[in-house]
Amino acid sequence: MDEILKIEHLNKKFDDLTVLEDISLEVKKGEVVVVVGPSGCGKSTFLRCINGLETIQDGKILLDGETVNPPLGNIKNYREKIGMVFQSYDLFPHKTIIENLMLAPLKVQKRNKVEVRKEAEELLEKVGLSSKKDNYPRQLSGGQKQRVAIVRALIMHPEVLLFDEVTAALDPEMVREVLDVIMELARQNRTMLIVTHEMAFAKAVADRVIFMDGGVIVEDTDPKSFFENPATERAKKFLSTFEYNE
């Protein structure tokens, strides 16, 4: 059994509003799952439930066979194993880039400072930002900040990475540099759930596409079938809204 993440009959409500309804999904180790769907269909909420930022009303989320939501005891330990990068820039503005990267490994994982600094520098090198390590987030472009945010998640050695529209707030010319980093992670066989509106990227990076609409999973298929031959009318309609952009 190589399922790393398992979601069973997940239900999520905000007061009376049902946002996710009976979602079940199994993600294999090394699988890249792209989640697409119209605005407001519950994609962000879905990711937030997975790392316990939202409480759930029904169902279960398991990581490595252990329940993480609803939380049993020490959810913090699971959060380290699930990295998340958000749409809005969320670096710590009072810390330099290298401090942003080192804070959680030092304080949460209590790792060795020398070793953490070395890893942080190596990771920055890989995303081409070595020269920025002593700068503050405000001195970086949006694309650079998002690359740092990805590295900040990676340095925790997560088993699963969640990306929520990490390029949506970027100027078009910066989208590429961020997507390239995620593509590279896919090549390293990282397990990832990616929410995106970049359809060309989705097609290129995905092992599997989940199409959500109105809080349910409408299609769960491989990228070729989804993009070239969607099974449902809703998916066809959704894809047709992108035709002018590509």
């Binding site: 913090k76 330990n77 009072h94 804070l103 959680a104 949460v108 987030p137 405000r138």
Partner: protein, 222 residues
């Protein structure tokens, strides 16, 4: 110019003593305001209806009532109501702390509210506990925003202290007034010189504080 009356007899020493009294009142009020303001500001962010309601009324009273009116109420009204005679200095400290606490609480509340939700969420997502999130991420950011603002408040409090001469504290402006009165015959132009010196004294008290606040603001902008 009349400046020479300043250097006559004990006049300069009296002016300095006056400034000292003013500084003492400001300092005491500032310390009380900062401590109480931080506590109240934090209570206000809890969004408990009772606290929100009471603090709203409190802030509104402070906003509407001129400090002078408050001073008169405390200095004269309190004595009448309770029979206890408050010293002018004590009344001044009470009124300035009453005012300063409200301003400080509002600054603290504003700073806490200005930290985006995503800062809490990404810290949580990285595995920080609630306490760690506050210690390493939220509070350092609040302090950085708060320091220049509270220094600005302190500067304003020092300036406003001159109001207390209205109820008879021997304080800079009052001393100045006395010097002018005493020298009306010998130096009819003394007013200009005396007020120039008072201006200088206030400037010397406030300028470094204000400059320091600008420096911090620049250093910590983000």
């Amino acid at each position: 110019m009349g400046i020479e009356v300043i250097f006559k007899g004990r006049n300069l020493i009296r002016l300095m003593e006056g400034l000292l009294v003013a500084m003492k009142i400001s300092l005491l009020s500032v310390v009380i305001s900062i401590v109480l303001g931080i506590i109240l500001g934090m209570l206000m962010t809890l969004k408990k209806p009772g606290i929100t309601f009471i603090s709203r009324i409190y802030l509104e009273i402070v906003r509407i009532m001129p400090q002078m009116v408050l001073l008169f109420i405390v200095y004269f009204g309190f004595a009448k109501m309770t029979g206890i005679n408050l010293s002018a200095e004590a009344s001044a400290v009470i009124v300035f702390s009453f005012w300063g606490t409200a301003e400080m609480a509002d600054l603290v509340r504003g700073c806490m509210a200005s930290i985006p939700k995503i800062q809490y969420e990404s810290s949580t997502a990285l595995g920080f506990t609630r306490l760690q999130t506050y210690v390493h991420v939220i509070i350092p950011q609040i302090i950085r925003r708060l320091i220049p603002l509270s220094i600005n408040l302190i500067t304003r409090m020092i300036k406003t202290t001159s109001l207390v001469m209205m109820i008879g504290i021997v304080e800079v402006l009052k001393v100045g007034q006395q010097i002018i009165e005493a020298n009306r015959k010998s130096a009819p132009n003394a007013a200009f010189g005396v007020f120039a010196v008072i201006f200088l004294l206030y400037f010397l008290a406030c300028w470094p504080i204000s400059h320091f606040s600008k420096y911090l603001e620049k250093k910590w902008e983000n």
